[in-house]
């Protein structure tokens, strides 16, 4: 409950101390009350703040410092190298290629995942029998640990003993090296989209938030299902889809574990990731733990951070006019409507 609400109903604008009426609690004990509230805030927020400082701010700061050194984390002779690591990030063809691959992978998988999640949510929003069972089945991949999912796909798509080639074998077709280039990227995309259960659940919640009377009214007016979907459902769902778009982009740009299909999450394993699946986080891992280039890897991460922020900012900018929000009449009216108004 805000202090404004404490001041009584109708007090919507924030109150300054000078505006307070003498009878208000804030006027009687302004400092002690605020101090007590501030104290309570810090007591409750303190543990989190400490954790945030120790486990987020400090590591970030340390990684920033490392990015200006040639440290390998172990050698005694590490030194400050200025912007050399950052220059290398933008001139190293391997890094630029993996950044480009990361962008392309994100551009393909995010829309696909959101579309698949929405499609399934629409299906599972219908009054069908055993709906709960289907929802559970589709959501299950989302709760499978990424390593487990990757192992499952490895078993399915292994060239010599996988069930995918076993199926091709049944039809007399040649088996494919699914987990090697050029097919590996498609297996990875399939694995990523396969985990769209989370997206489906959020879309489903959004769909169930849409007032049924709007759809009923549209039906009475003779709108087809498609018209209702594109003119009512999608616009009302657009904030949910936008939220998913932003979070999916951020998560996908940082993909790591799904890329390790068929390999172990070790430096040796990471080295065996096919070229087309070598996204930026694979490079980061390899630079840290295979090459021992803590400085360069930290610079890579900061560049990735900037890249993610830039993409997110761009998405926010582009969302204007595309994302629709329901209007709260109370907040858009300057004066209360009365019966006399027309």
């Amino acid at each position: 409950m805000s202090t404004d609400q404490l001041a009584g109903p109708g007090a919507r604008a924030p109150m300054r101390a000078a505006d307070a009426r003498p009878s208000s609690p804030r006027a009687r004990h302004p400092r002690s009350l605020r101090a007590r509230r501030a104290g309570a805030f810090y007591v409750f927020a303190g543990p989190w703040l400490l954790g945030f400082l120790a486990l987020t701010v400090f590591p970030l700061g340390y990684a920033l410092w490392l990015s200006f050194t040639n440290s390998d984390g172990l050698s005694p002779n590490a030194r400050y190298v200025g912007l050399a690591n950052y220059r290398e990030v933008f001139t190293d063809p391997d890094t630029l290629a993996s950044l480009a691959r990361t962008g392309l992978f994100t551009a393909i998988t995010v829309p696909l995942t959101i579309a698949a999640g929405l499609f399934l949510a629409v299906l599972l929003n219908q009054p069908i029998r055993a709906r709960g069972v289907f929802r559970t089945m589709i959501y299950l991949p989302a709760v499978v640990p990424p390593v487990g999912a990757a192992l499952t796909f490895k078993l399915i798509f292994d060239r010599d003993s996988g069930s995918a080639n076993g199926l091709l074998d049944v039809f007399g077709a040649n088996g494919l090296a699914w987990l090697q280039d050029p097919y590996a990227r498609w297996v990875l995309i399939t694995l990523t989209v396969w985990g769209c259960g989370n997206v489906m659940i959020i879309s489903l919640a959004g769909l169930q938030d849409i007032p049924a009377e709007l759809l009923d009214a549209a039906r009475v007016d003779g709108a087809s299902w498609w018209q209702s979907f594109t003119r009512i459902t999608l616009p009302l769902l657009s904030p949910v889809l936008f939220f998913q778009l932003v979070t999916q982009i951020i998560a996908t740009l940082q993909s790591f574990l799904p890329l390790l299909i068929a390999v172990d999450p070790t430096p040796k394993g990471v080295a065996a990731v096919p070229e087309s699946n070598r996204l930026i986080m694979i490079d980061v891992f390899a630079q840290y733990f295979s090459n021992g280039r803590y400085g360069y890897a930290s610079a890579l991460l900061w560049v990735l951070f900037a890249f993610v922020m830039a993409v997110t900012f761009l998405v926010f900018k582009m969302s204007r006019g595309v994302v629709f929000y329901a209007v709260d009449p109370e907040q858009t009216q300057t004066k209360p409507r009365t019966i006399g108004d027309s």
């Binding site: 005694p76 002779n77 074998d169 940082q254 204007r320």
Partner: protein, 451 residues
């Protein structure tokens, strides 16, 4: 409820704030550092020894704790975690390691404890009783050479990692003569056998003809073959490699041919099992390049043992060598807090009951000469492998590994460039140039840091 663009409602605020919040927090640097326990899980008054190792069965841990009179804290081995613990000055007391490839890197950076004084005082682990393979755990910081200088660890057992096992049933089915127990095959003969033994169906390899990869990855394969041809992959100062030398080029050409022929796991088509045994046991591999230790797995399966034999390491040229690329054992970090307790563990593990049990199991050649008599010879399979192994010992060698980069990092370069070279048919000379520039760049960076 009217619909308008860019209105404002709690849900909008919520979603916008959530997305923005997610952007800010999730976009923050994704940390790579592992969360590492301090390993100070003291139970009662007994001291606690932290060991970074592969997972231990609960019963083994209890037995060890009873025998040693101390608590053991087992931290699952993970190189990323180890690096984080070393960097954070909070290392385990004992670390599992691959002597042949880990020692130059960690010892050159001053991260390992010199154990010479402990060996000198020990009644259990006497330097005179140590098998020569333990030299992989020695490093001379002055000359930057492995094999001399202080001892930084000890091998639990060892093998000559380029020897190979083969399936007699598959050779017989293919109408091929069995490889000699005494004379090594040439690498070309070996490749030819692999091509004859491979079985395919509809583009899939049903039975691998030959798994030629050595335990340390492609770099060690090249190192061994180059040495066998009479050259050296690394320069004398270990600061550069030269894949363009005639000997290294020959090794590179051989490997490209092997990978192109698709007769076994390679950088182009890695073994999904991660190692040879599951494939070999499933009757899907005719020849597996693994040292004597692999006999421990084979010996545990009577059916497979009956049709398995051991053979000397093939040679690319006229220099007969049979190197060890592992010498897996333990070392004590310089920053370890319980070094005396770590040594107590060394004496028990390397010289006590565990060492005797290992020696009789066939999982590698014992690290102590005095235990060699315990190697298994009770079946025809064990007798054949023991005899072949004994005859191979004179050709034992430790090949140089550069202290300026981790072997995994150099293998990563090979794994990155070789598949394309195989698919595109790039000439070995061109591949050699690329490998030289990429690997030497890494070594130069490492040299700058080590000094």
């Amino acid at each position: 409820m009217p619909v308008a663009p860019r209105g404002s409602l709690d849900r909008r605020r919520f979603l916008t704030a959530s997305a923005a919040g997610a952007a800010l927090t999730a976009a923050a640097l994704p940390g790579c550092a592992a969360s590492v326990g301090s390993g100070s899980g003291a139970k009662g008054a007994k001291e606690t020894l932290t060991i970074m190792d592969v997972a231990w069965p609960k019963k083994d841990k209890q037995n060890a704790e009873r025998a040693l009179g101390m608590n053991l804290e087992i931290v699952t081995y993970d190189i990323t975690k180890l690096n984080a613990m070393l960097a954070g000055k909070n290392p385990p007391d004992v670390v599992r390691g691959v002597g042949a490839t880990d020692v130059p890197y960690f010892a050159a950076r001053g991260l390992m404890t010199d154990l010479d004084s402990y060996f000198a005082r020990s009644d259990v682990l006497k330097p005179s009783d140590l098998a020569p393979a333990n030299d992989v755990w020695r490093y001379d910081a002055t000359s930057r050479k492995q094999g001399t200088g202080p001892r930084y660890g000890m091998a639990k057992d060892y093998s000559q990692d380029c020897m190979f096992w083969y399936r007699t049933d598959m050779f017989e089915a293919a109408g091929l003569e069995l490889p000699s127990d005494t004379e090594p095959l040439s690498c070309d003969e070996w490749l030819d056998l692999g091509e004859r033994l491979v079985k395919r169906r509809l583009g899939k390899v049903k039975v691998y003809g030959l798994s030629a990869g050595t335990v340390g990855g492609p770099l060690t394969t090249f190192s061994w073959m180059t040495a066998s041809a009479g050259g050296s992959l690394f320069a004398a100062d270990l600061a550069t490699v030269d894949f363009s030398s005639p000997e290294a080029l020959k090794a590179l050409e051989w490997y490209l041919d092997y990978a192109k022929s698709d007769i076994g796991p390679s950088v182009v088509n890695p073994n999904p099992d991660g190692w040879d045994w599951p494939t070999y046991q499933a009757n899907r591999m005719a020849m597996a390049t693994d040292g004597y230790w692999f006999g421990g797995a084979i010996g545990g399966d009577a059916k497979v043992a009956e049709v398995s034999r051991f053979a000397p390491a093939p040679q690319l040229g006229g220099h007969r060598i049979s190197p060890c690329f592992s010498g897996t054992g333990y070392w004590v970090p310089k920053g370890a807090k319980n070094k005396d307790a770590a040594w107590k563990y060394f004496e028990w593990y390397f010289g006590g009951k565990p060492a005797q049990d290992r020696a009789t199991s066939g999982w590698g050649i014992p690290s102590l000469n005095s235990l060699r008599s315990k190697m298994p010879r009770d079946t025809a399979f064990h007798q054949q492998s023991y005899a072949v192994q004994q005859r191979e010992l004179p050709y034992f060698s430790v090949l140089p590994v550069s202290p300026y980069a981790q072997v995994d990092a150099l293998n990563a370069v090979l794994t990155k460039f070789l598949p394309d070279a195989v698919k595109s048919g790039t000439s070995a000379g061109k591949v050699a140039d690329t490998l030289n520039s990429r690997i030497n760049e890494q070594l130069a960076r490492g040299k700058e840091l080590v000094g």
